[in-house]
Symmetry: C2
């Protein structure tokens, strides 16, 4: 029981940051003396510290703040993308203590190379910072099985059946948690971003591929064998373009990076930087933005209407490239979803917002699934 | 604790039927003396009875069977359909003790009429059988809020914003649980039908409308405010037919009853009986069946591929009209889903099967959500 309360308190501090003892007592529904015992124990173990906050305007003695100590629990987060890999050591409280990243080209993208490089870089980073991670979270753009970190298919990396979890574990000897990138984006936005407090939310990201992560009744939604869904491979335009997955007209073919390039009149392999420049220019001219992007927006709307009609979220969070669409376009898309989705009308209007965690969103999500494994052992 | 064990034991008996004490002990992980105390208590209260089973071939003294007593807990189940209403009183163990039904035409379909008729018929049925229901489950073909039984929209009934739960409760004064019909179909198949034991399954039914119910990690999936998804309003053919919901090319417009009539070359308002006759004739001639139904089957496949790619179930259960499609057609659809869905390939091949609970499926689902409320008070 005490162990359980300790873990719950630690999770609260980890996710919400420094709190007073009174807040901890109120949030956890425990009495003050129980909180005192727990906090004293954690402080003695060096997991938290109590500090006088900077004085505010109010009168009276300020309450002590309980602060999680980042070094008390450290995890390794890995964000494996199609073009590059980022790794970070993340401390208790969610602070990034240090990071490293490298590009993937040619042979560097092969599973053997990637795995070796992750292990070596992580060891160097941990050595530099003088910390030791106790679990690893890995974000992969593909179809992964949560139970053992098996990558079934990561098409844009050209990976098939890679025992990623097992292979990292055989060297690092700590728990390895592998998740689909969009699922981890959803986790991060739910815990630390714009979907905080939402019980039902869907995070949709468009990069080279299009993926989605679903928070249902406060938790990640997964299907059989722990595989998460592949929203990007919802067929939405059966007379459209062939997709590598074998279908024709997957949503990914209409709202992925290549489709956005086509909508903007750019070559499909335009570098990311040039796409962003083009989008930022359009942002200043709503009329021009709509002329260029209305068809793209229509496919985005249709897919999101389907997502809402199937899953009934109160919140849709857009990630990656979708966050840089002109605000005027996103506003119209949001309005159309509310107008056209039966289920959105029932739940009182699904809101459409952009991810707020930026480029670190998947790294932070990967860190969280790793922390999930270690908080009860701190 | 004892109350909790009692409810768990009762739920097991309710769902799986008569068991020996040894089976109960094994299934619940309780020791034999605890089981004895619980069963003795339930027997004394008349909730279960212990009986010697008919002798089998084995030697030795047969174990006593613990049987749930149907009259010990009775709920009212209501299956509200577009053309008619069925009600039943269902006893502990899931046995239908008595039933009644009537057609809906013209004014009879208005909410006031339907509600009055349900209340009167239920009272008469209960009087005839000499039992008293302690909760009500209602299946509605529409968008309903589980929390208070509010019907937001039931388009084929032309109902909008009907406080169904509240209105039934104001007269009947017992808990009223209102669910979407496809959700309750999923519940019934999961507890008593072909999806028993499946952790992740989707039930899809096509009648006038097309709906779906999702079992995720063993429980019903719902979105914000308790609304379930509306799979039938997934847009799948954006250049297709207008749907009453405001979209164009909803799945319902391609695999609902009207679409099936078109595929068979029948008028869209062909009576159900005539559709069934046509389908049964086709069943004997797989080649003719495929010629007539291949386009219908393609839309069915596309929608099911999307459902699998979004939700990753291990099992798809077809209900209503879809169960009478020729077996040769369903076999091809199943094969195509496994071939074309990325996620089906990952989970090791989603199986496509037909509902086995027949016309009572939604009635049984409605009974179960009502039992869910009362088993701990028996």
């Amino acid at each position: 029981m005490r162990r359980h309360n300790r873990t719950t308190l630690l999770r609260l501090l980890h996710v919400t940051g420094p709190c007073t003892r009174a807040t901890l007592a109120a949030e956890l529904g425990l009495n003050r003396s129980t909180i005192k015992t727990l906090v004293d124990g954690l402080a003695e173990a060096g997991v938290v510290e109590e500090k006088v906050p900077r004085p505010g305007r109010g009168a009276g003695r300020p309450s002590l703040l309980v602060l999680p100590q980042p070094q008390a629990a450290v995890v390794l987060a890995v964000d494996l993308q199609v073009e590059h890999v980022a790794i970070a050591l993340v401390g208790l409280g969610g602070q990034i203590l240090g990071r490293n990243s490298w590009n993937l080209r040619g042979r560097m993208r092969e599973a053997d190379e990637v795995i070796t490089h992750i292990i070596e870089s992580a060891a160097m980073l941990a050595g530099d910072l003088g910390v030791q991670p106790t679990a690893v979270g890995v974000s992969v753009p593909g179809v992964v099985r949560r139970a053992d970190g098996h990558v079934h298919e990561a098409p844009n990396l050209r990976w098939t059946d890679v025992a990623l979890g097992e292979r990292l574990n055989s060297v690092m000897r700590i728990p390895i948690l592998v998740g689909n990138d969009a699922e981890l984006g959803a986790v991060a936005e739910h815990l630390r971003g714009v979907a905080r407090g939402a019980s039902d939310a869907v995070y949709v990201s468009a990069d080279v591929g299009v993926g989605g992560g679903v928070i249902s009744d406060g938790s990640s939604l997964r299907g059989a064998a722990g595989y998460v869904g592949e929203i990007g491979h919802m067929v939405i335009r059966p007379d459209g373009r062939p997709c590598y997955c074998g279908n024709i007209g997957c949503w990914e073919t209409e709202v992925g990076e290549a489709a956005l390039c086509r909508a903007l009149g750019l070559a499909e392999d335009t570098p990311r930087g040039a796409i962003l420049v083009e989008l930022r220019e359009l942002a200043g001219d709503p009329q021009a933005a709509w002329e260029r992007l209305s068809e793209f927006a229509e496919w985005l709307t249709l897919g999101l209407v389907n997502v809402v009609n199937l899953l009934g979220p109160q919140l849709l969070v857009l990630g990656d490239l979708l966050t840089v669409l002109p605000a005027s376009v996103l506003e119209r898309v949001g309005g159309e979803i509310r107008r056209r989705s039966l289920v959105s009308r029932a739940v009182g209007g699904t809101r459409l917002v952009s991810s707020v965690l930026g480029a670190d969103v998947k790294l932070l999500g990967a860190a969280e699934v790793a922390f999930e494994q270690v908080l009860d052992t701190v």
